[in-house]
């Protein structure tokens, strides 16, 4: 396929879709599938057959529509109605020409004018919930691969990098390194062989943004990677995806095959001189593999242990060659930047953080699910306007950044969400997990929970992390059972500093963050456990008091 055929295909598919009376979109992301979306989609398709609507009405599976708490979701695109908690029995009513006769549907109907939908701004998720992730034609109809065509036909690699640099896009994996700068670093390396790696090892507990992007719009990530390959001069890309994400793996494999067949990947892309191949590498359950040097070791078939940096991967990465590593969401931002220009992207967000951020809302919040908001929106707006607040309870903390992040208490709810503001209040942007806890969560136990995670996931290479996390977990465990002494609390504090300053990689350096932030904002909870043997949240079970045995 060349660029002209690509545009023809787009127009053809758009015309076909407009010729239809209606398209019923059924969310088939992992969340809705576990509530029975597969059966529902089949029931809808069968209903189309029996009503004789074949060729007039189309039933499509799509990526995540966002409102996971109401799944399975179905969108009627002609009537612009969204239904939640749909069951197989609702299929005939949804396909009926007028639904006034079906009061059952009114109750399933979700208001599309609610703040959950109107306050969001979708760039990365623009196609998610609209296109069928298993059909290339659908992605092309939505303007897919046009950015790749534009980059190859009209731009030099240097111009592509300049556009990304101008956009101000920063790495969405958590650390926030400027993407354009990283690309330029790889591009200027003289080596013949270079690699582009997509980090899809989304290990943070409580985060499912990358999975939803891969499941909902896999072609966009492939397109972003191909553009990156063109810009930095690489011919081979790898996607390192978690082994737990079966559906994402299956859809990626399918997407790569489709794209290769149409010459959108592989050799002679779009009949130009550029070639770029993408292979999948399946992770095997190790959180530390999200760290870039550990990820490289894992792709090479070794134990996923990080190594000393520098040299950084842009200088010496996969098999010692220059390697560009970006996160899924970062790559997904690339096609719109090339299409609409870096200046457009830079106009969204705050002075230092541009564009939008996808968050996964979970925990004690009314609207759990996937959202995308412009940078700089406050936490209060995200949690209470979009998230719908805490049902039947009082907000206590929001946890961002997983085990490397911190807990944000109520007094900081008006903090704008950007890289700098969050790190100022002791948390991090992280990859986008946002978990809300109410007053039934004990902060000491939360810190213990995250420390247990870091202890399990420590790769064991450097001593501060391997031994330090065990010691910290031990002390936290003793605090939650009421056995710790005040001296141990001091020990815990000094271990925090030790790990932060001496660990080899990000896992160990950030492991104390949940402890530090809970100690800072909830010192009274630690005190209550140690001095009064009391858990303010009534979560911890204390060991029976030791009695002095009479001599």
């Amino acid at each position: 396929m060349n660029a002209e055929q690509l545009r023809d295909d787009q127009n053809e598919e758009l015309a076909r879709q407009q010729g239809l009376q209606n398209r019923i979109l059924c969310c088939t992301a992992a969340g809705c599938i576990s509530c029975g979306a597969d059966g529902l989609r089949q029931a809808l398709a069968a209903e189309v057959e029996t009503k004789g609507l074949k060729g007039k009405v189309e039933v499509c599976g799509t990526g995540c529509m966002g409102l996971c708490s109401r799944g399975p979701l179905v969108l009627d695109s002609a009537k612009k109605r969204l239904y939640g908690n749909v069951t197989v029995a609702d299929a005939p009513a949804i396909l009926a020409s007028h639904d006034a006769a079906h009061p059952g549907l009114a109750e399933r109907s979700i208001d599309l004018e609610a703040p959950f939908f109107t306050r969001q701004m979708k760039i990365v998720l623009a196609n998610s919930g609209r296109v069928d992730p298993e059909k290339l034609a659908d992605y092309i109809a939505a303007g897919g691969y046009q950015s790749l065509a534009k980059a190859l036909e009209e731009m030099t690699p240097r111009e592509v990098i300049e556009e990304v640099r101008k956009s101000g896009l920063r790495g969405r994996g958590g650390a926030g390194y400027p993407t354009g700068v990283k690309w330029a670093l790889v591009a200027k390396q003289p080596a013949q062989t270079k690699y582009v790696v997509c980090n899809a090892d989304e290990g943070d507990p409580g985060a499912f943004m990358d999975r939803s992007v891969l499941e909902g719009d896999p072609h966009r990530v492939l397109e972003g990677m191909a553009i990156a390959g063109y810009a930095v001069g690489a011919q081979q890309g790898y996607i390192y995806v978690r082994g737990e994400y079966g559906l994402a793996i299956q859809r990626l494999q399918n997407a790569i095959k489709q794209a290769e067949r149409e010459h959108l990947l592989g050799s002679r892309i779009l009949e130009q001189g550029f070639q770029f191949h993408i292979d999948l590498r399946i992770g095997a359950g190790a959180f530390v593999c999200g760290e870039e040097t550990a990820l490289i070791a894992s792709i090479e078939g070794k134990r996923g242990q990080p190594r000393q940096r520098p040299p950084y991967p842009p200088a010496s990465g996969l098999w010692g060659e220059p390697t560009l590593i970006n996160n899924v969401e970062t790559f997904a931002n690339i096609p719109p930047i090339i299409e609409k220009g870096g200046d457009w992207f830079a106009s969204i967000g705050t002075a230092t953080s541009k564009g939008t951020k996808v968050f996964a809302l979970a925990g004690k919040i009314a609207n759990t699910g996937l959202i995308e908001v412009p940078m700089g929106m406050t936490l209060r707006e995200i949690l209470f306007d979009i998230g719908g607040g805490v049902p039947g309870g009082k907000f206590k903390v929001a946890q961002t950044g997983g085990p490397s992040g911190g807990c944000i208490p109520e007094q900081f709810l008006d903090t704008p969400v950007d890289y700098e503001s969050l790190s100022k209040i002791g948390s991090i942007m992280g990859s986008g997990g946002l978990i809300v806890m109410d007053e039934t969560s004990c902060m000491v136990d939360v810190a213990r929970f995250f420390m247990e995670f870091c202890m399990d996931e420590s790769c064991g290479k450097c001593v501060p992390c391997r031994a330090g996390t065990v010691q910290m977990h031990d002390i936290l465990q003793r605090i939650t059972t009421g056995e710790a002494s005040p001296a141990e609390l001091e020990m815990l504090k000094s271990l925090c500093t030790l790990l932060r300053e001496t660990s080899l990689c990000g896992l160990g350096q950030t492991a104390p963050n949940p402890v530090v932030s809970t100690l800072k904002y909830f010192p009274e909870e630690y005190e209550a456990h140690i001095r009064e043997r009391r858990c303010p949240a009534r979560q911890c079970k204390f060991a029976p008091e030791e009695r002095e045995v009479p001599a």
């Binding site: 969340g31 989304e202 399946i282 959180f287 894992s298 979970a362 759990t368 997990g433």
Partner: protein
């Protein structure tokens, strides 16, 4: 293995495929893989034990994987682990009759549906102890 050109770089892919075919990685299987890929057996064992995904012991007929990621932790995932441990076996083990394996996972990415349990590969959403009880009764666990 031939698909990957018997390359040592493909070790993790080979282990994935082997586990899919045989259910678990037996010592004999690891030895064969090491031999075929021309890798030291220590390296193969090292990689197989490093990653949580690989299992060196045979799995039970049915598997419950309880998610204890943050969202499921907040929603009470540990209560479900206790329930299974009470009725079956400790997490990370298989019952003596080989019927049920109980495992835990660090976030399966279904946080919108917390607490989640993967039963024989299917994700169950908003699981309660009663749901687990019913499931265990159905497969005939005492």
């Amino acid at each position: 293995m031939s698909r990957h050109g018997y390359s040592g770089y493909a070790l993790i892919e080979v282990l994935h495929t082997a586990q899919e075919l045989f259910g678990y990685l037996s010592p004999a299987l690891l030895k064969t893989i090491a031999h075929k890929l021309k890798l030291p057996p220590s390296r193969v064992l090292g990689v197989a034990t490093f990653y949580h995904f690989f299992s060196l012991k045979p799995k039970g007929e049915h598997t419950f994987v309880v998610c204890i990621g943050t969202a499921c932790y907040v929603a009470g995932g540990f209560g479900l682990v206790q329930k299974l441990e009470h009725r079956c076996t400790k997490a990370g083990h298989t019952t003596a009759d080989g019927k049920v394996s109980v495992e835990t996972a660090r976030c399966i990415g279904s946080c919108g549906l917390a607490p989640a349990v993967i039963y024989d590969g299917n994700v169950l959403a908003r699981v309660t102890a009663e749901v687990l009880d019913k499931q265990l009764d159905r497969i005939g666990v005492q």
